[in-house]
């Protein structure tokens, strides 16, 4: 029998980026806020101290900072006709766990989406005609524009101290930046990171080919920075242990290094770690959330009543909680109705390995940061005419290699045996002169009618709740896109002087074992029509107006960028609407 805790104004489910942002904004508004986090407290001195953080086996191979599948996992199948099976060990993506969420172990690549990404269906239909899109592609406009989000992108970048070179300042194209980006109101808070050899060489080759390369916007800071909350960060030391790892140096933007030191000291804030929310409770009408139920670390059940519920967990867990709480109509791909689980997407990533003459090139691949790199954006979104190519979407591409950690990053030329003297010699010869960008081609994945989330009929988690079932496959549009982009990407490595290049195209079927990114999106999307979206343009549930759902689960489809900048901007945008509109007049912020 669950016991009930004293009521709070606001309960936040999950204390990652969006939970921290909402907690800070709503405590500033004078509300009492409690956050409930499934995983443990994490901070550099307690969890990844500088004398032990550079451990490839512990963090990269054994996944120490992530959720363990034994806690909960998902089932997966490519097609609706197949039986889904559980993900027993993580592969294609890495669900975060603990205070800070994915903000602890991300690379801190801090992008904005293109203005056209937010009005995708309208834009593509106007440019190419509705018949250019595959009939089962379910892309939508977001209901919010780039111009509306710009001030909130700006807030997040100044919170993080993001290092970069502006490409478009209030409509004026700037040299050295990304000329395709939407107008930004002011420059990045800190200059771009200095680039190591291979990244610089990529930039030069791209420029010689006629592209406009620019440094990747980075949450690994180029210099010391004090953010508007007064929290100080130090410059990145290029240690090469960023993604999958916590930053022991306070150089990578994370909730721990930007918000939590301020938030935790507020009298009207508290958080619980190691407590898992199992349900959003609603009243008899089903149209008002009354709080959440959670299970603590001893297995006891509790209720936390609150006036306002903010769902701020990882994409799939937001969707799972909505489904298990009976909030919103579940999506049915057969009748093409319902909204919860709809428009689930990931990313279309590929890589190119390149091998250079060891006598002429010493790249020192271990000198890198998580968001280092020179990129081009000529083939992202709708930055180029797709007419001749028969697909839509795209991505940035770049030499964005983050490390030379040797278990993961000891590439050998194609045709080398996988063991023995020849393999050993090839590893020795190529380590310093081969390039393995990782997520070099960072392509979009658009949404489709038969790619979605629902609940698995067979497999359960440790509480006996059904696992979320992922049904996902690559469609021809994304495969064509990836082929086109990977070929363009490889040309740049040839121009850099590589003597051998291996293209690793992304192929169907979608595999749950190959790591792409952790950028799962959709399932509880925002939009303008309650029949095709779970949330309105302020991330407010259409069905339960005192419930707001943060995160990339709100993305109607995924763009060719990393999602954190956009989901954080949306969190600030939503918090602003709650503070300045909802609290004055609680109820639906959009009437349809």
């Amino acid at each position: 029998m669950a016991r009930t805790l004293p009521a709070r104004d606001v309960v936040i489910v999950g204390l990652g980026w969006t939970g921290s942002i909402l907690a800070n904004e709503l405590t500033d508004a004078g509300l009492s806020v409690t956050a409930i986090e499934r995983g443990p407290w994490r901070d550099a001195p307690t969890e990844f101290p500088p004398n032990a953080a550079q451990d490839e086996l512990r963090y990269r191979i054994r996944h120490e900072l992530f959720l363990q599948p034994a806690q909960t996992t998902f089932t997966f199948r490519n097609k609706m006709s197949q039986t889904a099976l559980p993900i027993r060990t993580w592969g294609a993506f890495m669900p975060p766990n603990g205070v800070g969420g994915g903000g602890v172990h991300w690379n801190a690549e801090t992008w904005r989406f293109l203005p056209s990404d937010f009005v995708l269906r309208t834009h593509l239909t106007q440019r190419y005609g509705a018949r250019f899109l595959p009939p089962d592609m379910t892309i939508q406009d977001w209901g919010v524009s780039y111009e509306e989000l710009e001030p909130y992108y700006d807030r997040f970048e100044y919170l993080c101290g993001t290092s970069g070179t502006a490409g478009n300042l209030r409509g004026q194209i700037q040299p050295g930046g990304n000329p395709f980006e939407g107008p930004r109101s002011r420059p990045y808070p800190t200059p771009a990171q200095e680039q190591p050899f291979s990244h610089t060489l990529f930039g030069e080759a791209a420029r010689n080919l006629g592209y406009k390369p620019f440094p990747q916007p980075s949450g690994n800071l180029s210099q010391a920075y004090t953010n508007p909350l007064g929290v100080r960060m130090g410059p990145c030391t290029y240690c090469g242990f960023c993604e999958w790892f916590g930053c022991a140096n306070y150089s990578k933007a994370s909730p721990q290094t930007t918000i939590l030191p301020v938030l935790v000291r507020k009298a009207n804030f508290s958080a619980r770690d190691q407590c898992e929310v199992t349900r959003i409770n609603t009243d008899a009408s089903g149209q008002r959330a009354t709080g959440v139920s959670f299970v603590d670390s001893s297995g006891a059940e509790w209720e936390q009543p609150a006036q306002l519920v903010i769902l701020a967990a990882y994409t799939i867990f937001n969707v799972q909680l909505l489904m298990l709480s009976g909030i919103g109509r579940r999506y049915d791909p057969v009748s093409n109705s319902g909204v919860i689980g709809r428009n689930f997407t990931h990313q279309t990533i590929s890589d190119v390995l390149s091998f250079f003459d060891p006598a002429k090139f010493i790249f020192n691949p271990f000198i890198a940061s998580g968001a280092i790199g020179m990129c081009i954006d000529e083939f992202n979104g709708d930055n180029f005419d797709h007419g001749p190519y028969g697909f839509v979407g795209g991505g940035y591409m770049g030499q964005v290699q983050t490390n030379g950690r040797p278990i993961e990053t000891t590439p050998v030329p194609p045709g080398t045996p996988s063991w023995g003297a020849q393999w050993k010699q090839a590893v020795r010869e190529n380590y310093l002169s081969a390039l393995q960008p990782g997520t070099g081609v960072h392509g979009s994945m658009y949404s489709y009618r038969d790619v979605y989330l629902d609940l698995d009929p067979t497999y359960k988690d440790r509480f006996g709740r059904p696992l979320v079932r992922i049904t996902m496959d690559f469609h021809d549009n994304e495969i064509k896109q990836n082929h086109f982009l990977t070929d363009k990407f490889a040309e740049i490595f040839v121009a850099m002087g590589a003597r051998q290049v291996e293209k690793q195209y992304r192929k169907a079927p979608y595999s749950i074992t190959d790591y792409q990114t952790t950028h799962l999106c959709g399932g509880a999307i925002m939009g303008t029509d309650p029949h095709t979206s779970a949330l309105n343009r302020y991330l407010q549930s259409w069905d339960v107006p005192n419930l707001f759902v943060m995160g990339a689960s709100a993305f109607p489809q995924n763009a060719g960028y990393n999602p954190t900048g956009t989901l954080a901007a949306l969190a600030y945008w939503s918090a602003d609407a709650i503070r300045n509109r909802y609290l004055k007049n609680p109820g639906p912020l959009v009437h349809v």
């Binding site: 805790l5 009521a7 004078g30 009492s32 407290w41 901070d43 307690t46 032990a52 550079q54 451990d55 490839e56 086996l57 363990q68 599948p69 034994a70 199948r77 039986t83 099976l85 060990t89 592969g91 410059p235 030391t237 290029y238 240690c239 939590l260 030191p261 935790v264 000291r265 009298a267 804030f269 958080a271 619980r272 770690d273 407590c275 009408s285 008002r288 959670f294 603590d296 670390s297 090139f361 020192n364 271990f366 000198i367 950690r405 040797p406 278990i407 000891t410 996988s418 003297a421 393999w423 050993k424 020795r428 380590y431 310093l432 067979t458 595999s511 074992t513 005192n546 609290l583 109820g587």
Partner: protein, 242 residues
């Protein structure tokens, strides 16, 4: 729905302290949690006897590691580098028993894109696999593994890799791929885990290990980084042992 009034919201804050210490799980409030002795990683001791392997199994794995990564004049082989010690400690620990992975039934064979669905743990695979390989060697080659020549061992390894050798009760290809993956991991992981002895693998390729700060080297393009590697546990130089 009843209106949410600012006054009601603020009233809630007075109750904050009443809940302290009720539900289990740490409450984070007032200051960042910090401890003088942070959570120490539980690195397994690399000295002492075998934890998982029997002595004959350990000899066999050392010999296999020595073929997968053969010695050369500059760098030891996988056996001498300690890869069997690494694997022994890993199999005796959480990795060996699939701790933390999802192990609920039913176990059903799926498509390759659905990932591994076996209920067999790495420890079970090695235990059964090494026994099966040992008897295969006795039956087919008339000797124990360690008595075969290097060329004979390579031939058997190639047969396992290609799925051409059928072992009793164990998939030979699965065993081979597990051993190859683990040997390479042990070779390149920090020496605190038992392999990569004296950082030999890092010296071989020029990886500086846990050096942590390359600010002075970012802009020094196309120059060889001159300093020797450092382990999480330090460097022999530090104790004068080198």
């Amino acid at each position: 729905m009843p209106p949410l009034r600012r006054r009601d919201l603020l009233a809630g804050t007075a109750l904050v302290l009443l809940e302290a210490g009720v539900a289990r799980g740490d409450i984070l409030q007032g200051e960042l949690p910090w401890e003088p002795a942070p959570e120490h990683p539980s690195y397994p001791p690399t000295t002492g006897g075998w934890r998982f392997f029997t002595a004959p199994q350990a000899a066999m794995v050392e010999a296999i590691a020595e073929r997968l990564i053969p010695p050369d004049p500059a760098t030891p082989g996988g056996g001498e580098a300690g890869c069997a010690v690494y694997i022994d400690r890993q199999l005796a620990g959480p990795y060996g028993s699939n701790t933390g992975l999802y192990d609920r039934p039913p176990f059903v064979k799926g498509t390759p894109s659905q990932g591994e669905q076996s209920a067999i743990t790495p420890a079970q695979l090695y235990r059964a696999g090494l026994a099966a390989l040992a008897s295969w060697c006795q039956q087919q080659r008339g000797h124990a593994w360690v008595q075969l020549s290097a060329a004979q061992q390579d031939e058997v390894l190639r047969g396992l890799e290609a799925g051409q050798i059928q072992l009793q009760g164990v998939n030979g290809e699965t065993l081979f791929q597990a051993v190859l993956k683990d040997v390479k991991e042990g070779f390149f992981a920090d020496p605190i885990y038992g392999g990569n002895r004296d950082m030999c693998a890092w010296k071989m390729i020029g990886f500086p290990g846990a050096r942590y700060n390359y600010r002075d080297w970012v802009g020094r393009h196309n120059q060889r980084y001159p300093y020797p590697p450092v382990s999480i546990a330090g460097s022999p130089d530090w104790s004068g042992a080198a």
